[in-house]
């Protein structure tokens, strides 16, 4: 298991390196730059800006500088203050590390993703700390909703195959697949937010600081009041595909020989399904959880726009039109990390569900 993890970790490094190289190459290949304006800036100012952000250097040097800033940890000594503690420096604008802690007088700093060119008072790290958790929470909520609705719906449809329950469940699934967020979102807002006034039509229910940097600190009715509509709007499509997959998989499993064996033992039908069929039928469902998770966490842009949620989607999209190089690199690398980690998680889930799969 340990060796397996090390191997996966090394592969992850390689994947991230390749992703970063391709992204870096592509974004510099696109015409225009962060300081291109409709009314061009004077050449002197442009030169100054480029020199300030090292954009006048050759691309390879810029890339190496980026990797150096992100990957190499820095250490510095802190000054003692009169009370016996240490004085922590106020982070400067262009020097903001994702990880920063001190052991005694030694401060440890790691992963500097650089400044944002477009909003000069912010760094990429600010975006990560303030916007990413919101998108992450929205993504997790919709994934949870998709699972909570999709799996039971699929099970019901399979067990009551060709009955009204099956048709009803699959109709909901078809509806979910066919109606995009951009239609469903405003309809939900209009019904529950504007007409019935049950739920707030816009906004998000959690603020920094976040637990572990990602999770809301106020996981209660107040949080869910805001989260429920966007999660439903974003998660319905996925719940539909989960339901269809669960149904197909369970229908296949209940025709297996070992299900007949279980019945021949005199097991109650309820136990035949819960003990013998469910675990087997969920294996294919777990397979799509990895890509689904990535799709939900990264695909929140439209949902965030409709519901006015201060998430990451907006920064991700505008950073590209603005040629805001550090934000593009940072967000894409982050999404890449999320994807890789989600896939490792899925592989571990496999091993849990299916004893024939063991990693060593």
């Amino acid at each position: 298991m340990g060796r397996y993890f090390v191997r996966r970790l090394l592969w992850m490094m390689l994947v991230l390196f390749v992703v970063s190289a391709i992204t870096f190459g592509l974004m510099h290949a696109v015409p225009g730059g962060p300081f291109s304006r409709e009314k061009a800036l004077p050449q002197e100012i442009l030169d100054n800006l480029n020199a300030r952000y090292h954009l006048d250097e050759p691309l390879v040097v810029q890339y190496a500088r980026y990797l150096y800033d992100v990957m190499i940890p820095r250490f510095s000594l802190l000054e003692k203050d009169p009370d016996g503690g240490y004085i922590k420096p106020i982070p400067s604008l262009v020097d903001d590390f994702v990880i920063r802690f001190n052991i005694g007088a030694v401060e440890f700093k790691w992963m500097n993703f650089g400044p944002s060119y477009a909003s000069r008072s912010r760094t990429v790290n600010d975006v990560f700390k303030q916007q990413l958790p919101v998108s992450f929470q929205l993504g997790m909520m919709s994934l949870g909703f998709a699972l909570l609705l999709g799996v039971p719906m699929g099970i019901l449809a399979a067990l009551k195959q060709n009955t009204i329950w099956d048709y009803l469940g699959m109709s909901v699934a078809i509806f979910g697949v066919s109606v995009p967020v951009i239609v469903l979102g405003p309809i939900l807002v209009w019904i529950f937010g504007v007409s019935l006034k049950w739920l707030p039509p816009t906004g998000w229910g959690s603020q920094p600081p976040y637990v572990l940097g990602l999770f809301p600190s106020n996981l209660g009715p107040e949080f869910f009041k805001y989260a429920i509509m966007p999660s439903v709007a974003l998660g319905l499509v996925s719940s539909a595909s989960i339901a269809r997959l669960t149904r197909a998989s369970l229908l296949q499993v209940i025709r297996e020989d070992y299900i007949r064996t279980a019945r021949a033992k005199g097991l109650m039908e309820r136990l035949v399904i819960t003990r013998h069929a469910l675990k087997n039928s969920l294996i294919p469902v777990v397979t799509i959880l990895g890509p689904l998770f990535a799709a939900l966490v990264t695909g929140t842009f439209i949902t965030e726009q409709i519901f006015g949620i201060p998430g990451m989607g907006k920064y991700f999209v505008t950073s590209i039109t603005n040629r805001d190089y550090p934000v593009i690199m940072g967000t894409i690398l982050l999404y890449a990390i999320l994807l890789v980690v989600a896939n490792v998680f899925v592989d571990l889930m496999y091993a849990y569900l299916d004893p024939r799969i063991r990693y060593d």
């Binding site: 297996e256 020989d257 007949r260 064996t261 005199g266 097991l267």
Partner: protein
């Protein structure tokens, strides 16, 4: 004569498919006495498995349906029982061993858990006690280090071990009747012999009745007391095992016995096969189902399906022809 434990009368099962109704079993009647071993032989798709699955209510429905008949177990009809009633018979009083040990175990549950399951549900003991019993059962069927292997998963067992575990599972509640559906077909010959030894030993120890389904006449000869030969969803011949081998009456049985390789034949003798293919069961036959392949076929065979009639005290056959003379049966 020992009392009957199972009496099947006029059992018929059909499957609805897109192309029409498949008549898998067409009015089968037989009895099973206490402690007796009954063999059911016949080629693939002749209705052997469907017959026993129908009795236990294990036919996948839809598309399958038992359309007529009765199956009395100790006086009670299994076919009209509620799901809850028959659940207490399955696995406890009538248990089954299936053909393919590779697919008949749940791959994600441990062997111990699966073997212990019938004990747990039928005898109402705790899971821990049931597991202990399962360990004893595995030892009984000759699995080495049985206690340690309880926590193994099916893929860690070989085919022969899985089939032994399957037998252990079937015997868990000391059933009155053991139904074995081609339990040795998927195994190689040496393992077959071991499994047969185990079954014979346990049969003598526990005194249960066995229905053994197979297409291997060699196995039946050494195991069963009585044999039903099935063809096209009908029982075409029924006789005590020695009588059947010595005086087969149905042309199909004669063909089956003729196709067995013999140790005393010269090495240049070709194996005999029955010409033609098994019947398509899409419509209920009005003539003898074996007529198209029968070397003795007469006009009457093509017009009327022969009923299963007594030929001798314990020997019944469904055929218009007397194979000795080639003429009509007296």
């Amino acid at each position: 004569m020992a009392p009957k434990v199972l009496e099947v009368k006029d059992l018929a099962t059909q499957f609805k498919t897109r192309d029409g109704i498949v008549h898998a079993v067409n009015g089968v009647s037989f009895e099973l006495q206490e402690g007796e071993t009954l063999g059911i032989v016949g080629e693939s798709a002749c209705g052997k498995t469907v017959t026993v699955l129908s009795i236990l209510g294990l036919i996948p429905s839809p598309p399958g349906k038992v359309v007529s008949g009765s199956a009395h177990y100790l006086g009670k009809d299994l076919l009209t029982m509620s799901d809850e009633e028959i659940r207490f018979i399955r696995g406890a009083q009538i248990s089954m061993v299936f053909q393919d040990p590779m697919t008949s175990f749940n791959p994600v549950l441990t062997i111990g858990r699966q073997v212990a399951e019938p004990i747990e549900i039928h005898q109402g003991v705790s899971r821990k006690e049931a597991l202990e019993r399962a360990g004893e059962l595995l030892a009984l069927v000759g699995i080495p280090n049985a206690k340690e292997r309880l926590s193994d998963y099916p893929h860690q067992f070989s085919g022969g071990m899985r089939q032994r575990a399957m037998i252990a599972m079937a015997l868990a509640c000391s059933p009155t009747v053991l139904v074995a559906d081609e339990p040795t077909t998927a195994l190689d010959v040496t393992i077959q012999a071991q499994i047969l030894d185990i079954v014979k030993r346990l049969r003598d120890q526990l005194g249960m009745a066995i229905i053994w389904i197979t297409h291997d006449l060699g196995i039946i000869a050494g195991l069963a007391q009585r044999v039903n030969v099935m063809y096209g969803g009908f029982i075409v011949e029924e006789a005590p095992v020695k009588e059947l081998y010595a005086h087969p009456q149905h042309p199909y049985t004669i063909g089956l016995l003729g196709s067995l390789p013999r140790l005393d034949a010269s090495t240049h003798t070709r194996l005999v096969s029955i010409d033609g293919v098994p019947p398509v069961l899409m419509k209920k036959p009005t003539s003898c189902p074996f007529a198209p392949r029968c070397p003795f076929v007469m006009d009457r065979c093509l017009q009327e399906n022969p009923p299963l009639l007594s030929f001798d005290t314990h020997h019944r056959v469904a055929c218009w022809v007397d194979p000795k003379t080639g003429g009509a049966r007296a």
